[in-house]
């Protein structure tokens, strides 16, 4: 009798243990699933947040930049001088190598336009007009101009501006799938159009001041006289602001005199020891003379 009771007790205990373990097993699976679901939604949310903040992948950024640049080149082709184009690429690549995004496939070009301007596109595409190039006196000045544009790319100013000008949903769709169906392509085209319009409407003023400050540091890091950028701005400042060559430049940048003073004040005493950096005027002239 005692043995029978003991068996019943043991059975009850086992059943309880079984049921309890099943309950726990069920809870664990649900919990795990819930975790996975949450993790997925968190990743997805983070991705969207990143996209909304302009954090597209580098590959997508390069793709956007290539499209914008082909638009610029459609408007004004490259100057037909291979030596000049290679030279500008060497100067620009050396300066870009001093930045935090040296791994980008940096490409530089001089375009056939008498306007005084330079343009940067996401992903490392930079073009300078022949009109601006011809105003320059030496390699250090060229380096600082390219450095200003490199700064826009490194700081993703155009991407950020594009994100602001476009509807959030559209931007998210675009970055999720860069090449997709017709709707995606149309969205992509809208993005490109908005991007190109930035070249005629301009970036936020604070981006320009930020790029100026970044540019002189990059030039100094590359071994050039950073003050060469002040010479460039002084030259531009001496051109009549109403002249046609400066039309786009003046519309898209803060007043040159204001940039000069702001930059010179911030540089004052900080970069003096780099003022003896090279300007390579002879090399610059030897290339320019062959145009």
């Amino acid at each position: 009798m005692r043995g029978y009771r003991l068996k019943i007790l043991l059975l009850c205990l086992c059943l309880t243990a079984l049921v309890t373990s099943e309950v726990y097993a069920f809870d664990f699976d649900a919990f795990k699933k819930q975790l996975e679901d949450n993790s997925e939604s968190v990743t997805e949310s983070l991705k969207k947040v990143d996209q909304l903040r302009g954090k597209v992948s580098t590959a997508d950024e390069i793709e956007i930049g290539a499209k914008l640049t082909s638009g610029l080149l459609g408007a004004a082709p490259l100057v037909a001088n291979a030596e000049l184009q290679r030279y500008v690429n060497d100067v620009g690549s050396w300066v870009a190598a001093q930045s935090s995004r040296k791994e980008l496939p940096w490409r530089f070009g001089v375009i056939q336009s008498q306007g005084v301007n330079a343009f940067a596109a996401p992903g490392g595409y930079i073009v300078v007009t022949l009109g601006l190039y011809q105003l320059l006196a030496n390699e250090a000045q060229l380096a600082t101009v390219l450095a200003h544009e490199i700064a826009h790319v490194v700081r993703k100013h155009h991407l950020e501006a594009l994100q602001k000008t476009m509807k959030r949903d559209l931007w998210t769709d675009l970055t999720v799938e860069m090449v997709g169906d017709k709707q995606d392509r149309e969205n992509m085209h809208k993005l490109i159009n908005s991007g190109l319009q930035l070249y005629t409407t301009g970036l936020d003023r604070r981006y320009e001041f930020e790029a100026d400050l970044y540019a002189v540091v990059l030039a100094a890091r590359a071994g050039y006289d950073p003050y060469a950028f002040l010479d460039v701005l002084t030259t531009i400042d001496s051109i009549n602001p109403d002249s046609s060559e400066l039309a786009v430049f003046m519309n898209t940048h803060p007043p040159t005199s204001e940039r000069l003073e702001t930059l010179a004040r911030k540089m004052d005493g900080r970069l003096d020891s780099y003022a003896r950096g090279v300007d390579n005027a002879a090399r610059f002239r030897s290339i320019a003379a062959k145009q």
Binding site: S70, V91, E245, G269, R283
Partner: protein, 182 residues
């Protein structure tokens, strides 16, 4: 002796001020130093609005000469602003072509991909481009061949190594300047 040399130089410059490299204007009251550093001797001050001749630039310093104040020396570069440069203004006389170039650029920029997708709305067409008709915008084309050409000129490690060596360039570490400093 140095004093007389300086006086002589001053009179010499007074006579040749008109032939100075460039004219400028003092935009902020400037302390004039006898060398391009703030530890140098102070010669005097020039108030804002005074016209000066601009000579050499050395780092963040500009050598100037004021006929009005009979003063020659160095001021900080942001205290003086160059006025119109004749060699630059001459160039723009024969560059009216830029307007059409600009028009073409804006037209093509704005209508980019229009033919392909029809995505350009009339709103898009009028936002960034000034004074251009929609017809002009519709004729735009992106140039992918030119983009391919641009990529061909890209630098590479071998070229860059030679470029840096020949140019006597040396990289160094320089900290970024904070945006909010004075």
């Amino acid at each position: 002796m140095y004093f007389f040399l300086r006086i002589f130089l001053l009179f010499f410059l007074l006579g040749t001020a008109a032939q100075a490299d460039q004219q400028g204007i003092v935009v902020r009251q400037a302390t004039v130093y006898d060398d391009a550093n703030s530890a140098a001797r102070q010669i005097g001050k020039i108030p804002a609005g005074v016209t000066v001749s601009i000579f050499e630039r050395r780092g963040g310093w500009q050598e100037i000469f004021s006929a009005e104040r009979s003063m020659i020396g160095w001021v900080r570069i942001y205290q003086v602003r160059a006025s119109s440069n004749p060699t630059v203004t001459e160039q723009k006389e024969d560059s009216r072509g830029f307007l059409s170039g600009l028009a073409a650029f804006s037209r093509k920029a704005s209508g980019f991909f229009t033919q392909d997708s029809g995505a350009t709305s009339s709103g898009t067409a009028t936002i960034g481009v000034r004074g251009l008709s929609e017809n002009e915008i519709n004729s735009a084309q992106a140039d992918f061949e030119e983009l391919a050409r641009m990529k061909k000129y890209a630098s590479n490690r071998t070229r860059l190594t030679s470029f840096v060596a020949v140019g006597g360039l040396k990289a160094s570490e320089v900290a970024h300047i904070p945006q909010d400093n004075k």
